[in-house]
Structure formats: C-alpha cells, structure tokens
Amino acid sequence: MSHELRNDPSLLERQQARMKWQQQKQQSFFNASDHTMQNMFSTSMPLAQTNETFTGLLSGHNGLDIVKPDPGLMEDWAGFGDHLSYGYMNQNSIMPLGADQSFVHGNSVSVSTSVTVSVSPKKRKADKGQSLEVVTEKEKKLKGCAEEGDSKITHQNSNNSDKATGDNKSSNSKGASTNTSSKDKSKVSEVQKPDYIHVRARRGQATDSHSLAERVRREKISERMKYLQDLVPGCNKITGKAGMLDEIINYVQSLQKQVEFLSMKLATVNPELDFNIDNVFAKEMFQPSTSEFQGLGCTSETPNPAYFQLNSLDQVYCGLDMGINSAEMALRRSLTAPMSIPETFMDSSCFNVISSNLSPSFFQL
C-alpha cells in the first residue's frame, strides 16, 4: 500500500475509475449482484474454456447456482473492451484444458483485490521493459502450458486477430515489445490472481496470445520497412508505418503510370510498320544475305558479319551491361558519322529500330 502513496494521485484515481467502469460493464453482462464477485470478474475472472472451471469458480464462492457461460457470450467477451478481453484471453491462454479446479478454489476474493491494488501501482511505476519482475513462481510453472493454451486460443478467438494464425510462442517471447496504447489494458490484465501465469513480460503490452503473434508479425513487417527505405526514394525521414505505406503506394502508382505513358508513347512513335520490321529483322538475323542489308552501304557491312557471328540473341544482350543509355549514344553516332556500330552497345530492339531507320537515311546518301 505504501507504493500507492508514492504514486501520483491521478493514477490512483484513474485506476479506481477504471475499476468502477469495469464493474458497470460487468453488470451489463452478468447478473452477479455480489460486489466481491464483480471485483473478481473485473480483475481476474478467467473465462474458462471449459465450463467446469467457470462453474468451479462460481461455486467456490457464495455457492451460487451453476452458470454456464453462453459460448456466444464468450465471443462477445472477446470482442468487448480491449483491455478486458485481453485480460480474459490471457487467462484463457494460461489455463490448460481441464484445468485443475483447485487453482480456482484456492483464491479468495480478498487476495485478488489486494493483489489488484498492490500489483498495479508497482506495474505503473515499473519501466515498460521491466515487468518480468512481477512473474511469480507459480506463474512460471504454468508457462509451459501456455503454448498448449495458445493453440486453443487461436481457434476460439479468431475475431481478435485477423492475421495471426496458429502462432505458438512461449510466454517469454511475449515480452518482446511495447504497446503504448494498451496502458489501460495492462492495468487490468496484469492484475491477476497470483497463481495464473503472467505471460506478458512487458508492461503496456496487450496480453492476448493473438496480440503476441501480431507483435511478432509487426516486427517482421518493420524489418521489411527498412528495405523499403532504401528502395523508395525520399523515405529516409519517414518512420511511421502509415507514412511508409503512403510512400510505397505513391511510388507504385507513379511507376505504373509511367509504364502506361511509355507504352502509349511507343505506340504513337512506332507505327505498325516497325513491328513488321522487327519481324523482318528477326528473320534476317539468321539469313545473312538479304536485300535490305545490301542497301545499307559499307557502314553496315562491318558490323553485320560481326553481328552474325553472334549466334544467339544472348550475346547481343550482354551489351546491356554497358547500359542502354550508351545505346542511344551509339545511335546518335551512327547517324552523324557512319562508322562501324559496336554491337556491344546495342540490344536487339535498338537494332530493329536502327535497321528500319538507317536504310532510308543511307539511301538518301
């Protein structure tokens, strides 16, 4: 309790307000009039996968009638209020199937409430990356069962995560990251009965096994984002995921538009005739003596035999290593000064164009 005094009063107020809010929420779902029961629910009530555990809980206190939780209700619980659901789902992930009811029975309400109050201030004070300290011995024991629980959870609580599918991680790895938005969640979910697993190692992180898997997924994604910073121009200053995605989208859109524009340009610049010439040239490549090449004059004779010594297109394409821009230079040179065209600077498409355009120009000469 002394911890509380050290804390800001606002934090305590917040916690109390939250507890009240939770209790109000509880009332809308359960008709439990018992205040202690509500407290139990709000702090550490496990929504057991098996009805036995749940009924055991209820029967353990005040001898209430056995209430079978509606499976649909459990779904609602899952979707309801982030922090609550995370807290509950965490409980679920802890509890192995066929859980020993003695766990449940062993807890008294007063213990849970005291744990509630005393644990949370500690948590609040603690650094985000240091809540490992809170893990108790019993909790460590149950960690081994968490994996088994995880696999069950992924099937049941699929509405919590649309992405994480059957990721089984040990509870230790859950502490790998921080989630600033779930401060509220942490306060509720971290407040637990001492003999349940504290699977979250970090404070401020959502406790769901799904959120764990999502966390891992998110880290993978942020890795990829780093590659993107090199790839997409102008991304060096942007750090957020949304901003990066925006840049990627803009870049992809601009590239696609460029492709459209360039294909339109090629369509207008090259009348249909050129395509035929491509075809003709393709034939001519394998037939050294043709009328068209005879018309090209002496300048074409030197490269032509050299060219036809290259038996396949592949050797022509090795000239691509010099960069296609240099092909343009070669083209310009061939127009101005008829010299032997170095075939290493050409690719076949340029050849096609050259052949079609050189023949008229040389005829004029």
């Binding site: 809010w21 779904e75 609602d76 899952a78 979707g79 309801f80 209020g81 982030d82 509405n159 649309d162 992405k163 938005s181 401060k183 509220d184 997924r217 994604i221 990829r224 590659y227 993107l228 790839l231 957020g240 995921k241 949304a242 995605l245 925006d246 990627i248 989208i249 992809v252 590239l255 696609q256 460029q258 492709v259 459209e260 360039l262 294909s263 339109m264 340009k265 090629l266 369509a267 207008t268 610049v269 090259n270 249909e272 395509f275 491509d278 393709a282 297109l313 592949d314 394409y317 691509l320 296609i324 821009n325 343009e328 083209l331 690719d347 076949s348 498409s349 340029c350 096609n352 164009v353």
Partner: protein, 187 residues
C-alpha cells in the same frame, strides 16, 4: 541486387520483343489505343514471366491476363512450353482466398454487438492509435489493389511482394523509357 536487375532486364527484353513479334505477326490494322494495349500487355507478361514463377504477384498477373480470352493465346505463346507458371495453383489460391474472405465476413457480422460496445467508449489514450490503425488499414487496402494478386496475401507477404514488384516495375520503366528515347532520337 544489381546483377539480378541486369538479369531481369535481359529476360524482360527478350520476352517483350518476342511478344511484340507475336503480336504483329497477326498483320491486323491496329489503332493507337490497341497498339498501346498490346505493348503494355506484352511488357507486363514479359516482366512477369521473367520472374519465372518465383513470386506471387507475377503468377497473379499472368493468371489475370489469361482470364481474358483474346489474350490467352498470346500469353501462352509468349510463355512457351518451358514456363513454370502453374495456373491451377494460382486458381486454387484465388479460391481459398475468396473462401477466407467470406468466412471473415460472417464472423464479423456475428460480432457486431461487441463492436458497437467497443465504439461506444474508447479511452482517450487509445484514440491516436485507433486513428493510426485505421490509416494503416486503409493504406494496406489500397496497396492490395495496386499489387497484382495482393488481395489474397496477408500483410507481411504483401509488403514483400510490393518490394519485389517495385523493383520489377523499375526495370520495366527503365527499359521502356530507353527504347522510347532511342526511337525519339532516330525520328
């Protein structure tokens, strides 16, 4: 990465020229728009086949192109018999994706009550992250539409495919631009 882009360029040009030749062997009179479409189609298919079925977006691109009957023959000719493109696998992926989408929708509908409760009282500290999450979601949706076959992918592989797609698009743009410049020079 530099060498792979060169390799990609070579493959791309080879296949593109081949595709253009196939296109023009039909000896049809084409207007500008048709020519442009053919050029673009050949370029896209050439780019996708240059990837040799290693990436998902290339498979999706080819699959979508094949859906169109008039292009299917061209695509088949362009791909050649040695192509590793497996249309059945891509079709199967598409079907499973649609099934998944449908089941997600059903699940979402069953949880509308809980969603309404969620919206009723978001704590103030969560508001910024809610907005951020919504932004990210919207943008991933847009990205999914941009990248071919993106709708069927989860977020992580979407980004991976987007990276690869960007690289290939760059190659395509470089080649096409230099060709366009070359023809400009000559005219």
């Amino acid at each position: 990465m530099h060498t792979s882009s060169k390799q990609l360029k070579k493959e791309f040009i080879k296949k593109w020229v081949k595709g253009l030749e196939i296109c023009c062997s039909s000896n049809k009179k084409m207007d500008v728009m048709e020519r442009k479409k053919k050029i673009k189609l050949c370029a896209d298919i050439a780019l996708a086949s240059a990837k040799n079925a290693t990436t998902s977006w290339s498979n999706a691109l080819i699959y979508n192109a094949k859906k169109d009957d008039e292009n299917a023959i061209l695509v088949d000719n362009l791909l050649g018999p040695e192509s590793r493109f497996n249309s059945q696998r891509t079709a199967h992926q598409m079907i499973t994706f649609h099934k998944r989408v449908r089941s997600k929708r059903i699940l979402k509908k069953s949880c509308t009550v809980s969603q309404r409760m969620k919206k009723a009282s978001p704590p103030a500290s969560n508001l910024a992250t809610c907005i951020a999450k919504r932004l990210v979601k919207k943008r991933t949706q847009v990205l999914k539409k941009l990248v071919p076959g993106g709708e069927a992918m989860d977020e992580y592989s979407l980004i991976k495919e987007a990276l690869d797609y960007i690289l290939s698009l760059r190659v395509q743009v470089d080649v096409m631009r230099s060709l366009a410049n070359a023809t400009e020079v000559l005219d």
